[in-house]
């Protein structure tokens, strides 16, 4: 009987061996994918097991943490959550995370590979694990000016950039929400979350209008059209008379392109055309240059591509399949043209920075829990939409707009401000209230330009006539610029 017994012994050995092999498979080969499976609740438990790192603005953190009961030990809290929501996004025990909280999650939770060495050291020395910090480029005073300005006006958004570097200084959206209210996992968080849902809240407070909403830019787009005219050599000087009949009939149609009111647009100079915001002049420029050249210039300013700040912004729109009359309408910021507030701030910033467009970014550096720097963002040139000479021509035109034209509300004593107003129609047959736009930059006495800003206000309650970029949006831009200038001193 001993021969079969030995075979049975081998068989039993094989059973155990099969178990050992399987164990190695799930606990060694597949261990990482099982451990990091998002369905695995341990992922969420570990995520909230340590205090999350903070998001820093100007040396102060705009976030914090609180302890909770249940599986998750800590939850996120926000200071002035509604004001900073477009910058931070949210992180919630129940609903995950988005925007900056999501993108920099690795650093904030301390799970990032770049923290591995420190984490291992901490584990050996028995220190509690902690998350790193994200230091932003934002300017608290500018953000507050932007948010407060919007709050007084209704829906809208503000984006402000430092032209020489691309650092984002303000990023406000209104109406907003306080991410603290949905950070936990309780019933009140669920209720708040439900209320924020677009289906239950037509205001859509969680929408980051500064980055993710595209608005028809209206007359502010004329800055791009002017740049295209100069760059393509259609006109070479701000004070050269343009070939602009009045009324100007759009090619292929019998319709004249109307101006707002009775303004001196016939054969106006570029300076005057921008100052009075002549649709006929810029529409004809767009039509003369053609779809292709206009699109090329718009692309150089950043249109049609998403920006990663690192939070993604929506791509602004300038179509590539338009006939001359559609191109004319698009060149005055109507028809299909649509831009995010960040995009229009980039336009102002490129002009202000002598034609160089810097890549916009909001994360200055990442810090380890010990505050040691891990990574620093360096300014990066994105493109050069116009030459320095043409940029200076355009600057002088925009400064005229603020000094003598539609943008008088943005004047700041002792500071050279260049800007452009816009009033964009939207809705069927322009039935809805138009958007009020203003984009501008401020130039100091020493020649530096610390800020470029774009403001859009969509106000359902305002009387239609009151809506003009100069009236509603310019004061907000002004206070943002003032806040930046003040914090520079």
């Amino acid at each position: 009987m001993n021969k079969p017994l030995r075979r049975i012994a081998i068989f039993c050995g094989l059973l155990i061996l099969a178990l050992l092999v399987r164990d190695n498979w799930i606990q060694y080969v597949q261990a990482d994918s099982l451990r990091e499976d998002t369905n695995n609740r341990r992922v969420a438990i570990a995520r909230y097991a340590t205090p999350r790192g903070n998001i820093i603005v100007g040396g102060d953190s705009i976030t914090g943490h609180a302890t909770t009961t249940g599986d998750f030990k800590y939850k996120r809290t926000y200071k002035d959550g509604a004001m900073w929501a477009p910058v931070t996004g949210f992180v919630s025990q129940s609903y995950g995370a988005n925007q900056l909280e999501y993108i920099e999650d690795g650093i904030l939770t301390g799970n990032d590979d770049r923290l591995f060495f420190r984490n291992t050291l901490d584990m050996i020395t028995g220190k509690e694990r902690a998350g790193g910090n994200v230091v932003t480029t934002l300017n608290a005073a500018a953000q507050k000016a932007a948010y407060d300005g919007l709050k007084g006006r209704g829906k809208g958004a503000v984006a402000a950039i430092e032209p020489s570097t691309g650092r984002i200084l303000a990023l406000a959206s209104y109406p907003s929400y306080d991410p603290s209210t949905i950070a936990g996992g309780g019933d009140s968080d669920a209720e708040a979350w439900k209320k924020l849902d677009k289906k239950n809240n037509p205001d859509d407070p969680t929408l980051n209008r500064a980055l993710r909403e595209v608005y028809p830019p209206g007359s502010t787009f004329k800055v791009v059209t002017a740049a295209a005219a100069l760059e393509n050599g259609l006109y070479t000087d701000a004070d050269e008379k343009t070939k602009s009949p009045l009324p100007w009939i759009m090619p292929g149609t019998t319709t004249p392109l109307k101006n707002e009111g009775n303004i001196p647009c016939e054969n106006a100079t570029l300076r005057a055309a921008l100052q009075y915001s002549c649709n006929s002049v810029f529409g004809k420029i767009g039509s003369d240059l053609g779809n292709e050249k206009m699109l090329a210039e718009a692309k150089k300013f950043g249109f049609t591509s998403e920006q990663f700040t690192p939070v993604r912004s929506s791509a602004s729109v300038f179509s590539d399949d338009m006939n001359p009359s559609q191109t004319a309408l698009s060149s005055i910021g109507q028809f299909n043209t649509a831009a995010t507030p960040l995009q229009m701030a980039m336009v102002a910033s490129a002009v202000a920075n002598d034609g160089k467009l810097m890549k916009p970014y909001m994360v200055d550096s990442l810090q380890a829990p010990s505050l040691d720097p891990i990574e620093k963002t360096e300014p990066e040139e994105l493109s050069q939409p116009l030459t320095a000479k043409n940029a200076q021509i355009l600057q002088s035109m925009m400064e005229t707009v603020v000094k003598d034209g539609t943008g008088k509300n943005a004047q700041i004593p002792g500071v050279k401000v260049g800007g452009k107003t816009g009033t964009a129609q939207h809705g069927e047959n322009n039935s809805k209230n138009p958007y009020a736009w203003f984009l501008s930059y401020a130039k100091l006495g020493d020649g530096s330009t610390p800020v470029a800003v774009a403001v859009v206000v969509e106000d359902d309650k305002a009387v239609r006539d009151d809506i003009s970029g100069g009236g509603l949006a310019a004061p907000i831009a002004k206070s943002v610029m003032e806040a930046v200038i003040k914090s520079k001193k």
């Binding site: 021969k3 059973l15 155990i16 178990l19 164990d23 190695n24 261990a31 499976d37």
Partner: protein, 480 residues
């Protein structure tokens, strides 16, 4: 014996039976480790969860030491030549099981069994008591041979019990429990396993020649005669019935596998293995084709994540969806190579049966690959000692019984551990000695008792032959 006393044969013989050491002191030394390791583990859990040495450490340690001590002294007295490894291995596994059960008692997520560890300690005491009873009253395992057919009747009775209305309890789809009012639940299948092994051993010992020799050769295989197929068909039918009525794939597989192993050992005919595999495949596929419970288990095995999501979504399609298979896999994966450390994992997410059927997942998460491999090797060692006992046994009944019990033990470990680790579909069985459950612990201690008895008989020195007058005559007379 004679070799030692007779100088003339001193150099020719290898080892005389008198030289067989009892190895009781080896066993005692090993038992010390088997008690101390769980005590440290217990302290570890307390420190990890409550930052203090658990207050029950002393009583728990004493309890385990007492069990080990009683077991050891009984073996020393009543089975002095028994295998020295089995008792320490079983004690270590039982002790580690107690630690992990206590650790799961501390879980805040699992509130439905807050005091399982003290009960398990009580069951362990009952198990060791049964071991003592077996060793004291079963002087020779061959006595069991007399009860061959009584064992069969007893095994069938035990198997049918869960089907008796009012007595059986359906727990999550498997009907393998019976309810005893006031005492709790009992899994008769665990005891039926031992009774069946006794029956098979007794029956096969008698019939093995007929089964082995009377056969026809066909395609290189020795096919048994039709009339000899009877017993294997009966056992097969019983296994299928267990599968159909109790919807318990594991027990069914265990019984049939045990029978095939013993049949093979008894007859030395490979054809039985081929037959057995064919029949179990036909049976399993046949039953699975119409039994939804088995189908669910197979589905959960093939796609545990989908089953998890269905369970989470509360899908109600008449089938009980369980997230446990996936939760167990996550527990193993999250443990990784070295584990999180005792008390620091989240294996309690498995929920129901975390401390019984799924207890290996807690080992996986908290002790890691290293810990689970160690546990599996401990089981491997028990099986190896059991098969070795079978090899050493001098009588065919002892050989068959030892290999049947060891083989069943190995199959049970494979079915449970393989199921929890996703190697095979999950079935409701308990990991011997480690998992929470009175029936399992008590029955397995009895199993160890029987193996100890067989090994004691096998290793015991042969009784000295009666001195013959001839020996006297040829004695060398030394000149003075």
């Amino acid at each position: 014996m004679s070799s030692a006393s007779n100088p003339s044969t001193q150099h020719t013989s290898t080892i005389g039976s008198i030289g067989t050491p009892s190895r009781r002191n080896t066993e005692l030394a090993l038992l010390v480790f088997a008690v101390v390791i769980p005590i440290f583990a217990y302290a570890n859990v307390g420190l990890a969860i409550n930052d203090q040495v658990p207050p029950g450490l002393l009583s728990y340690g004493l309890g385990l030491a007492l069990l080990a001590g009683v077991g050891h002294l009984t073996v020393r007295k009543f089975a002095p030549y028994a295998d020295p490894l089995m008792l320490p291995l079983a004690t270590l596994l039982n002790g580690l099981g107690l630690v992990v059960i206590w650790r799961l008692d501390q879980s805040k997520r699992l509130t439905n069994y807050a005091a399982a560890a003290p009960r398990q300690l009580m069951y362990s005491a009952m198990g060791v008591a049964l071991l003592v009873v077996v060793l004291i009253f079963l002087k020779d395992h061959r006595v069991l041979q007399r009860y061959t057919y009584i064992s069969m009747a007893g095994a069938l009775f035990l198997l049918i019990l869960p089907l008796v209305p009012g007595l059986g309890a359906d727990v999550y789809g498997a009907k393998i429990w019976i309810k005893i009012p006031g005492l709790g639940t009992l899994q008769p299948g665990e005891f039926a396993k031992i009774a069946l092994a006794v029956f098979f051993a007794g029956y096969l010992m008698v019939k093995r020649d007929a089964l082995a020799l009377a056969s026809r050769r066909f395609m290189g295989l020795y096919l048994p005669r039709g009339r000899d197929l009877g017993p294997i068909l009966v056992v097969w039918v019983i296994s299928i019935l267990v599968l159909v009525f109790e919807t318990d794939l594991g027990t069914s597989l265990l019984f049939f596998g045990m029978f095939i192993i013993m049949l093979y050992v008894a007859t030395e005919r490979t054809s039985w293995i081929v037959f057995g595999l064919l029949m179990s495949a036909v049976g399993a596929v046949g039953v699975a084709s119409f039994e939804p419970h088995i189908q669910t288990r197979v589905q959960a095995w093939l796609n545990p994540l989908r089953e998890y999501q269905l369970s989470r979504a509360g899908t109600k399609d008449g089938i009980l969806h369980s997230e446990q298979a996936m939760q167990a896999l996550w527990a193993f994966g999250s443990g990784g190579t070295l584990g999180t450390g005792l008390g620091q994992g989240n294996s309690d997410l498995i929920g129901f049966a975390a401390n019984s059927d799924f207890i290996l997942a807690t080992f996986g998460e908290e002790l890691g690959l290293a810990g689970v491999m160690a546990i599996l090797v401990l089981y491997g060692l028990i099986v190896e000692r059991g098969v070795r006992t079978a090899l050493a046994a001098r009588d065919p009944f002892g050989k068959l019984l030892a290999v049947g019990l060891s083989g069943a033990f190995a199959l049970q470990v494979f079915v449970v551990a393989g199921g929890v680790m996703g190697l095979i579909p999950l079935t409701g069985m308990t990991l011997p000695f480690v998992a929470y459950g009175g029936s399992s612990v008590i029955a397995n201690w009895a199993l160890i008792g029987i193996l100890l008895r067989i090994s004691d008989t096998a290793r015991r020195p042969a009784p000295a032959p009666a001195p013959t007058p001839d020996a006297e005559m040829t004695q060398v007379v030394r000149p003075s």
